[in-house]
Symmetry: C2
Subunit: 467 residues, 2 copies
């Protein structure tokens, strides 16, 4: 098999795209896909194919790909499943290089669908066409402006540019997580929905993302694989360079049986997956929330050199709960050096008790955070910091974003923020996240994400590599 | 000690309130409190006391309470701590019944503050004045329109009316959680911030809320108690009638030491608390998120009679993850009766696989949910349902709220909703929550909340009570 980075370029950097099944009817998925591609501003050519239309959204429509007087590199197929074999023949005749089959109605529906899928795949193989899908959402690429998701933007918000890439076996799962990421201000490089994996699967896409310069962290949702050994090897190779966070659906007997019913794939033993993920140095997520939270941490945070965490807060109660969480997850509360605490002492009101958690108390201002955090950044006995900021308190204002951003810009260890609340809190959280500071709405999620960073560091340092 | 329901009425149903330290300067807490009381529309009289003003927000200001030509039932004291002894003397002379001391600068600051607190308390005791605080946020009561929180509404949104009441030892913790509740559309009856607990504590407020008709569930954040035995007994008495969810800060050695530094209270052995909470039939929360999530469930959901959970979804992946979570938490996937499944079969497209999780697939409409859910509500082999609705999918519209609300109105078992995503999802979540359907943004939070309901039911059924 050729290097994934070469043939997958046809999907992510095509010169021209055709949408087969492009439609003028707003509710048709062929319409939504075509519209999204045009609106996102894909820089290459886009050709609508529809035998019953002469023009779609102001562009000339073609009866078939063969009629297009240009090379078509990528075909996005959104026709009813019964027509897909013809569409693929059309692709073959026209020397299309890659096809994304959005349409459902294949293997996932039973024996007849399975035969149909095999027929389509045979045509593609004979013509050297690589296929993503069928029964998928396709791809979303913020850097190359490709969007084949068939859900309109008012239903499914698209995240902006960023450095997480995300491979999902389940389309609906992927869509919901993208929507969530957009809401949280998390940027994405590439999203790939694998669907039935008739051809291209998790192994090839992982290899491609390994080489992708805009991908700093890879998030994977997978229910089962037909290539266990290659998957394991690929993970092992990649994680030495880029963190990979894996959420495996079907990690319990009940979940396994649901996977079988969902995808027809035997999920494989939970114990085997568990051990496999750990061995490869990938990071296991148990929930969709962890998948996103950990990916955010890996994208923006440096790798820590130990597990001693400093907690700074303006709310004692959340300091207590963070300490509880640090203890439950087996991390350590850092013990700052005496001289660090002396430096801080001189700038704090007498009420501030110099402990870890360091409670700056309810009237802490951005300046007080700065006065406490700067000496802490220089302390070698601290491996990372969790900064809790309740923005409901009277002295916190938007300056806190500048203070934290500035400190994070020179601090070479992880610094994550926790802020709990409603509207104003969400606003600040988005400001922090968009400034590259990983911010979590509860202390526990911040501590878990810190632990993910530490687990990654420990695995790869143990192996003698320079994290 | 008199029945809590009598003397605590002075706090929650006073005929008149004075704000001592009411101010015209917007940044002063005495201003914010006075303004909030007026704006919320407290129906009784409100008198500002400030020796340096003649009028505040259009109302005549008084030099002292004694000058007010009316009985004052409740005094809210927001002066600097050094003046609080005088203010309390003034309360005593004027036969005030109850006082909330917002001001900090007492026991929490050390030996001098402790003496000051004792002095104030002596004056109050001799005059028969009951005290909440000092060093607290006071109370927020949506039914009696009382709001003594010193944070302006643009920082801290206030939740609307509802049936959760919330006791918090930590003011900042309470404020952040209220703000969060407002954002999620969760209604509150009463919020009480206990502060230093110089007089009134968790035991008395719990007893009061037991009798409170608008309180269906009580959430408690506590770091330590000086009355372990009474606290345990009170919890035991109440939980037989009303669920109480307890989040205890300092449940690990690290957390305990943070509590000591935060409140000066020895947190007590984690094991003892753990066993105590279980024995009383209260529900333990480990995080602020669980505290809110479980309270929402208890407020709106009936008590289940078993642990067999049915999962209905329009996204297979989330069905798988929900099954994983059910298995991990020791609950069971229900096995619906054959006749139930037959009834559903006739109304489903062939792609729908009749299993649990029941995957209605990506093009499920509100009508398809209705056709599946109605037969399931009649099945005696199901003890509760988790309904997953991804609103990004093409056929979901606002009718889904009517469908679910209607089914929940006659279903006498728990039915909770999960919906994952961004803007549109949050909108629907709020609509569901405000319609009384407990809705969670991840499957795991829905399953944990279902488990809290089941744990409560099991404890109280084992004791021969009719849950």
């Amino acid at each position: 098999m050729a290097d994934a980075s070469s043939y997958l370029e046809h999907f992510f950097r095509p010169k021209s795209i055709t949408v087969v099944g492009a439609s003028r009817q707003p509710r048709k998925i062929g319409h939504v896909i075509f519209k999204n591609l045009i609106e996102l501003g894909f820089p290459g050519k886009v050709y609508p194919v529809n035998p019953n239309a002469t023009e779609i959204m102001g562009l000339k429509a073609y009866r078939s790909i063969s009629e297009i007087d240009d090379e078509v590199e990528l075909a996005v197929i959104a026709t009813p499943s019964s027509i897909v074999p013809d569409s693929m023949e059309d692709c073959a005749r026209s020397h299309v290089k890659a096809a994304i089959i959005i349409s459902g109605g294949f293997k996932e529906t039973g024996e007849n669908g399975k035969k149909l899928e095999e027929q389509v795949l045979n045509t593609a193989r004979n013509a050297g066409i690589r296929v993503i899908g069928p029964n998928c959402m396709g791809i979303y690429d913020t850097y190359n402006s490709i969007d084949t998701l068939f859900l309109p933007r008012y239903r499914l918000k698209r995240p902006g540019r960023g450095n997480v890439s995300f491979i999902s076996q389940s389309g609906a799962f992927g869509a919901a997580v993208l929507d969530w990421a957009a809401e949280m201000g998390i940027g994405i490089s590439k999203f790939i929905s694998l669907g039935n994996k008739a051809d291209i699967d998790e192994v090839e896409t992982l290899k491609y993302l390994r080489e992708d310069k805009t991908t700093k962290c890879i998030a994977v949702y997978i229910e089962g694989t037909n290539r266990g050994r290659e998957f394991t090897e690929t993970l092992r190779e990649i994680t030495a360079e880029k963190p990979v966070v894996v959420l495996k659906g079907g990690m319990t007997p009940e979940g396994q049986s649901a996977v079988l019913s969902h995808t027809g794939i035997l999920a494989g033993s939970p114990q085997v997956y568990d051990a496999m993920i750990k061995q490869t140095g990938a990071i296991k997520a148990e929930t969709a929330q962890e998948l996103l939270d950990f990916s955010v941490a890996f994208t923006h945070q440096p790798v820590p050199h130990g597990d001693r965490v400093m907690v700074v807060t303006n709310a004692g109660g959340f300091g207590v709960l963070t300490a509880d969480s640090i203890s439950r997850l087996g991390l350590k509360l850092a013990k700052p050096k005496g001289e660090t605490m002396q430096q801080i002492r001189s700038k704090m009101p007498p009420m501030v008790n110099l402990k870890n958690p360091l409670d700056l108390v309810g009237d802490a201002s951005p300046e007080r955070y700065k006065a406490a955090l700067e000496p802490l950044t220089a302390d070698p006995d601290i491996d990372g910091m969790i900064v809790i900021i309740l923005v409901q308190t009277p002295e916190i204002n938007a300056d806190i974003v500048d203070v934290l951003t500035n400190i994070a810009s020179f601090y070479r260890k992880p610094l994550v923020v926790t802020t709990v609340g409603g509207e104003l809190t969400n606003m600040l959280t988005k400001m922090f996240t968009e400034s590259g500071i990983s911010t979590y709405p509860t202390p526990e999620r911040a501590v878990k994400s810190m632990k993910a960073l530490i687990t990654y560091a420990q695995h790869h340092m143990r192996k003698g590599e320079n994290g």
